[in-house]
Subunit: 355 residues, 3 copies
């Protein structure tokens, strides 16, 4: 129901294209393409899930896990090709903190309005938090290296980023083996229930077709969006980093946002947490390394993992507050307020940061 309301935003696809062709105001182009991507990201998620039903649990879960953040990946790839490395890294940061703080915070408040306490599976939450600590370590190391050993030169820094990407990617693959294979039962119930959300009987070929079409549309819309970032940011008096951390990340996470909030309101806090923390974790351990690898394939200046001190601090603080909040296996509205409070303070700081 909610999903179909979001689908009304699909009207912005032709609007964005028309505005872009007519060389309209960059702000309008940015807004329209952003609004168009929101339902596309949702559709992509649903198409993946339906495809999942046709290929068996094993490959299905794998597909689901890998395509879960396909929209973010496509946007970032387009920005990467345009050489906007700062925007790429800012959108990664924004996706990680957005999921942990904004999506989870809103879910805990929405759920906490109806239920005094909501319990969730501590093993799954603990694994997610620990993997995010690992991801934070993966961001801290290159940044600290950059600030204490900058004289080693850019080449060494790129090698370090590449090796850390390999470690993060290997750990991501092993975490899939863990959650989809050896310890599947611990996470049971999750992926099945998620299928409830807007489920309609699609055939296998239709799913595959929809998936491909939606991915192409997201790609096209991302081109329009990325092309409008610089002039739109300029017009709004915002830095590109702020646009990447807050606005682009909001667009990419909108689908997760609505699903997680819906799950929390149905008292399925496990699923809400799984969506928010799982998505953050996937951005850090899968999307970020894949972008680094892709930058070598694309050629030109390779992408490094040297985030700004503020980005590193934002991710580290988000991960720590998540650990404190999820430690007890319970949530209530005040925990949601705290997560949103940290998000608000970080957003204010990113707003004031110079370009």
């Amino acid at each position: 129901m909610f999903a179909s309301r979001l689908d009304l935003l699909l009207i912005f696809i032709p609007v964005a294209v028309a505005l872009d062709v007519l060389k309209a105001d960059a702000l309008l182009v940015f807004g329209a393409s952003a609004l168009a991507i929101i339902p596309l990201a949702g559709l992509l998620g649903r198409a993946t899930e339906h495809l999942t039903c046709h290929v068996g649990a094993g490959i299905g879960s794998l597909l689901n896990a890998s395509l879960g953040n396909a929209a973010e990946l496509i946007i970032a790839l387009v920005a990467l090709r345009e050489g906007l490395h700062d925007v790429v890294k800012a959108s990664l940061t924004g996706s990680i903190i957005g999921n942990v703080l904004l999506v989870l915070g809103a879910s805990m408040i929405a759920g906490g309005m109806k239920y005094e306490r909501q319990r969730f599976n501590q093993t799954a939450a603990g694994l997610g938090s620990s993997l995010l600590v690992l991801a934070a370590v993966g961001l801290i190391i290159p940044a600290l290296f950059h600030f204490t050993a900058a004289d080693r030169g850019v080449r060494i820094e790129h090698e370090l980023s590449l090796l850390i990407s390999v470690v993060l990617f290997v750990i991501y693959c092993l975490s899939l083996a863990f959650s989809l294979k050896t310890h599947r039962h611990v996470f049971a119930g999750g992926s099945h229930d998620a299928g409830d959300l807007g489920g309609r009987p699609w055939s296998y070929r239709l799913s595959l077709g929809v998936l491909t079409a939606v991915a192409i549309l997201i790609g096209v819309m991302s081109e329009v969006l990325v092309g409008a970032i610089e002039p739109a940011a300029h017009q709004l008096g915002l830095t590109q980093v702020f646009v990447g951390v807050i606005l682009v990340a909001l667009v990419g996470n909108a689908a997760e946002h609505s699903s997680a909030v819906l799950m929390a309101m149905k008292n399925k806090m496990d699923l809400a947490l799984g969506i928010a923390v799982g998505s953050s974790m996937q951005i850090a351990l899968f999307v970020a390394p894949v972008l680094v690898f892709a930058s070598y394939a694309i050629g030109g200046h390779p992408l490094d993992l040297i985030f700004t001190p503020f980005e590193v601090a934002a991710v580290t603080m988000s991960v720590l507050i998540l650990g404190f909040v999820s430690m007890d296996g319970e949530s209530h509205w005040m925990e949601g307020v705290m997560l949103l409070g940290v998000y608000a303070m970080l957003a204010v700081a990113f707003y004031f940061l110079p370009a």
Copy 2:
């Protein structure tokens, strides 16, 4: 009983005034006014509690929560009016780490001497720890901004501090709604039992009168104390920051200290933890923002939230060790030793820090 022993220190009120009028040695003036504030802070707490009985549970709890650190607030306001911003911030830092490390550490040791293990309510402890992590985030952001984007200028830094103060204050208000209203039962027992401590049947008007009189006396003594900080620090060969972090904070926290230790010795670890962590949390989320707002009302240079790297690190480390120590819902004397150990190491460092 213990409270009345502390009351003997009230004799230092006239002593401090006399010494100040006679322009005696700054060290004597500092010592006498410090000793005079200790019983006054205790009296203020008891007067608030007795007033509480007359106004109904709702407003009573609110009063209790807001006036809990009134002594610290008054001292800081006096220092703020004198333009001693470094002393104000140092005393905030000192109150936060003093409560978490010194007061709680001493309570755990005192309680641990009599009881092998003491259990406490994990939900309440978890909320307090999480709110302190949030407060630490609120201190880290302006400091990091200052060190990475100092070129944005003082005006932007003040705006950032003000906005973060607003976020912290809103979260404080919401945490009151949480603990006094929607989830009151989780914290039940706490405020009622605390009334045992030195309870005498006072009438409503008497309570109100005592409250006002004590507040005025604290104000007067704070004037004397703050006026003596600089010459006394100079005489002792100490920096004003050390005096603020260690000595002034000790004076402001003495009442909490004795109550928390007493509670721990009665095996009411929940209350001891509530006093120590609650007081720290209140300093960070209520007193600090109120001082920032007050600095705008007073006029002159507004107060910012840019603490020194050492202050930020001290608060962050205290909060993290509190998280580790309170995680299991149990305490023993060794956990108290660890908290005191961290306090000792920080005190040594603040002692050696240059002005």
Copy 3:
């Protein structure tokens, strides 16, 4: 059985001496002496345990605790006497992170291959983690002081390091009183069971003799090893810090490594955790302060506790990930993978760091 296989490496004692006397290639000397120390460290541990049986539980446990990292202590003392302060500090860092990440990570994987989940005593694990946070605080303070108040001069920094060493050492002694005396039963079973490992009936005098002989041999081998560090590092194109953090630490921890992995495979995760975390904690709270004290006894430039930013960050991150991973009182292979992942990322960074 496994212990006796390691004992075959004892053949490298005469080999190392011969190579050293013949002024052979530094790399061969380094390798041979490193291989010789591995079984000696194991022997020292077993000799200590057997001695323990003859002196009564109290002094025995004390002996065990103090001599547990005797090999590391001897190597570091030799390096200290040679004035290789950076190598000493690097080997301390390497021992702390090596035990927490490599030894514990390998144990969790080895145990997790056979058992789906392994439970451990949360009180003991929590105490170890908290003591390691304390140790991290003890490393952060001097480093932060060095970076923010370097103008205070070297003398003040040495005083600060000395005072922090005293605090850490006192806390170590109190933690022994806690675990061996007042709360012995919480840790019960541990030290007794550990005696299984390769236990043969030795007499008291023999134990004492073996202990002394082994300590002397480790001393001799350490001289050879330390003498070869610089030329060997040069030949391998490695920095002395990398050799200290990764290679020397590996040699010193090899005995703990094999015992912990064996215990984990026998599903005695409590013991594995106790060995790994206990050893890290002992390095930080006992070996490090003793080395600082010893540097004053030896004369010359005293040892300080100012570790490099990367070393401080490495220890802090290791301790935090340990907290997240041990929080739930359970382990599985994926937690082991995460610990090894952090170790791999840190090792890569130390490899690239300039001298």
